[in-house]
Structure formats: C-alpha cells, structure tokens
C-alpha cells in the first residue's frame, strides 16, 4: 500500500486561489444547503397542492395529481435534471431557450427547479397519506359546521395532516439534501463536486471524501434534531406523543 496520507491538506491553499481546501469544501456545503432549501420550498408548495388534489372528491383533480406523482417518481432524478438542463431550452421558443442557456448560475436554478419538482411528487404522496389518515368524521364535522371544502382543508384537515406527516417529510428533506449531489452532473458546485475538485487538485482522494462524508453526517444530524424540535413544538396535547 503506497497511499500518502496528508491530513494537513485541508489547511493548504487550493490552486483556485480562493482560500484553503477547507474553504473549498465549505463553499460546496453552502451550495448544497442553499440548493436543498430552495428546492424544498418548491417541493413543499407543489407537493402540498398536488397531495390535496389527490384527496379531493373531484375525479379530474385526482387524475391530474396521480399523473403528476407517477411522472416525477418513475424517471430517475439524473434523467430529469438532463431534461431540464439540455432538452428544455431546445424545446422552448428560440429567444426563451437562448435566455435560459445564458442565465448566470443556470446549474443552480435548474437544480432547484428539477429537484423541487422531483421531490414534489414524494411530498404529495406523504401529504395525501396524511389527509387520508384522518378520520372521515373530521371532514364531515367541517361540512356540518358550514365550512366550504377549502375552509375544511384549511382549518380542520391540513393542520392535523401536516403534523402527522412531519416525520416522513423530514426523511424526504434528508433525501433531497442527498439528491443535490446528483446536480454535480450539470455543474452545480455542491459538496460532492467540491470533494472531487479537491481530489483532482491535490490527489488526496481519501481525505477529500472523508471530509465530505463527515460534513454530510453532521448536516444529517442537525436536520434530524431540528425536525424533532419542530415536532415537539407543534405537537397537539393528547395526540401522537403530544403529552398530557
């Protein structure tokens, strides 16, 4: 075995001239977090809407939601990102396509939209499951009080449904963080990409990947703890570990 370990590598300057290798990795981590958060906003917004549609009495809303979920769940995320990045600009009208290609930070925006849409299907499945998990009586009680369908969802069903699906949504968010690494294929400078950069510059492959691994683990732990705190703070007394 002739691998030369050099754990001091993190404090050496990277050839990019923007600081040490540690800074290089941390800037990657930053992009990972920003991309995941922005994509999560899209995923949560679309996913909630589609998930609610899946539970509505309307047949067409139901079919649309079903089609949405199947479409985005059955194509690999890498292929979805390629469709957004390489294919979409060619299919749009010429001026729009060119504008999209020349967008500064295009990989970031594409990653946010692509991952957001892909994750929205998974969020929709969870939200629909949460609404369906509520007793039928709750919807009926809403109607009996004279609430409209929209009001029943807003005031009765969704507040409870979101509390129920908080744990599965947390794991979807963790999946999303991990999936941001797929966007390195379209040139997003996230953590795994930066670990690769460091490996290519310094040849210290295992140090680079170890650092990335540790950073991903820390990020995971932080999200899990944050989610637990959130679950506790929104828990309803008498329901699902809400105490008293």
């Amino acid at each position: 075995m002739n691998y030369n370990w050099n754990w001091g590598i993190y404090w050496q300057q990277s050839p990019e001239g923007t600081g040490t290798y540690a800074m290089l990795l941390l800037s990657g981590l930053q992009w990972t977090i920003i991309t995941a958060l922005c994509a999560w906003v899209i995923a949560l917004a679309i996913g909630s809407a589609v998930g609610v549609m899946r539970t509505l009495p309307s047949k067409w809303a139901n079919r649309f939601a079903g089609a949405w979920i199947e479409l985005f769940r059955n194509i690999p995320i890498l292929v979805q990102l390629f469709l957004w990045f390489f294919v979409l600009p060619e299919l749009l009208p010429k001026t729009m396509g060119t504008a999209l290609k020349q967008l500064p930070n295009a990989p970031f925006y594409i990653a946010v939209v692509g991952l957001g849409f892909a994750t929205s299907a998974r969020v929709a499945v969870q939200v629909a499951a949460g609404v369906k998990a509520l007793p039928r009586g709750q919807t009926m009680a809403g109607y009996a009080l004279g609430l409209s369908t929209a009001q029943t969802y807003q005031h009765v069903l969704l507040p409870m449904a979101f509390r129920i699906v908080l744990p599965p949504l947390t794991s979807e968010f963790l999946n999303l963080i991990k999936n941001t690494s797929v966007a390195l294929t379209i040139g997003l400078l996230e953590l795994t990409f930066r670990a690769r950069t460091m490996q290519e510059y310094s040849f210290q492959v295992f140090e680079a990947f170890t650092a990335a691994t540790v950073l991903y683990l820390i990020l995971n732990v932080l999200v899990v703890f944050g989610a637990r705190a959130l679950e506790r703070s929104v828990s309803v007394p008498g329901y699902m570990g809400g105490g008293k």
């Binding site: 075995m1 002739n2 059955n74 292929v79 390629f82 690494s181 295992f206 991903y216």
Partner: protein, 251 residues
Amino acid sequence: MDIIISFLGFFVSLIVSILQFLIPNFDGDVVNRSWQYLFFEGMRFTLLLTLMATVLGIALGTVIALMRLSGIAPLVWFATGYTTLFRSLPLVLVIFWFYFLLPYIGAWAWGMDRPMTVGAFNSALVTFTLFEAAYFAEIMRAGIQSIPKGQAAAGYALGLNYRQVMTTIVLPQAFRNMLPVLLTQTIVLFQDTSLVYVLALTDFLGAASKVAQRDGRLVEMYLFAAVIYFIVSFSLSLLVKRLQDRVAIIR
C-alpha cells in the same frame, strides 16, 4: 432472439412516432440507428447490475438486520452504524468512494504491493450491493419485527435452534410480508443505477448520453431515455401494486 429484436424494434418505432408527433423537428433517425446499442449494451448492463445488486443486497441486508436484532452489543453497534452511515450519504459520493477505495482494498486483501485493477462493472456492483444493503436491512428488520414473538418462541419450544427458527419460521414470512416493499426498493435501485453515469460507464443512460454527444442529438436521446425509464419503472410499480393487493387479501 429475432422475435425479441423485432418486437423491441416495433416498440421503439412506436415511441419515436409519438415523440415525432409531439415535437415537430424530432430526429427519429438517430434513435433508429442506435436503439440496439442502447438496449443490448446499455440496458443489459443496467438490468444485470440491478438484479445482481438486488439479490446480493437483500442477502447482505438480511444478515445486517439479524445482527441488528441479535441483542449482542458489538453486532448491534456495527449494524446500526452501517445502516446509519450509508443512509446519510448521497449515493454519488459513495460511488466515488468505492471507485477510488476498492483498488486499495483489493491490494490489501490479496497482499499486492500495487492498487488492484477492479473493473468498472465490479466496482459498481460492490458499491450498489453495499449501499442498498443498508436500505434492504431496514426493510428486513421491519419484516422480522412484524412476525409475532410467539412464533419464534414456539419454534424454540419445539427444540429448534436459532438458525432453524430463522430459516424455517421467521425469515420466510418476513420475506413474504415485505415482498412489495423489497420490490419497490428494487425499482428505486433500477433508477439509481443511472448514477454510474458519473463514472462514464455504459449503462442505459450512459449509452444514450454517448450517442447524444457523438451525434449532437441531446434532445432526442435524453427524451427517449426518459420515456424508456418511465415505462419500465411505471409498469413494475403497477405490478407491485397488484402484488400488494394479493398479499393483503391473503393475510
């Protein structure tokens, strides 16, 4: 074989005509020229990797699940650490890890003084087996825990040992109960194999991408690849849904 080729050919030309109908300047010719390469090189790799990693991953995952439930502290720690570690890392990073690590592990295991040449397929197979084993382990753990304790106790009361209780009573039922979930994970694995693209291997997506770049036909090849991935995953998930209904009725 000829029947398969002509059936696939018909199927491909159907997809191409639909895409041509939807997108006016879609170049169907590039697909017609390359689909045999995509399926017999690319899809063969993808399916072989998916199947082998599933079988090996379920086997290893079951062992890890048994360790996790064994009650023997070091085994429990190892199994918990293993599943937690792999489940918190992105697959892309794990693919890179093993791509660089395996030659060194191989050299160490066989006592060579130079890093070993592992080969692209073997590297991918080891990566996906070890990675998916963590996910299969969690599924199998749930499956084993879903079997009432009384059944294992009854087995021990009959004089069976641990191995006999597991192989003849608990595991067969656990597999059966978890079959839909295991298959769903296999569909995820099928989609995940597309990530070997980062190592420039020729899986289905890799093959499509190579043709796309050679002929400058990104739109055609990536759309075609997306359609094929969708059809395969969607029909498999329909099958799983039917299976789930049947298992649910029997129980």
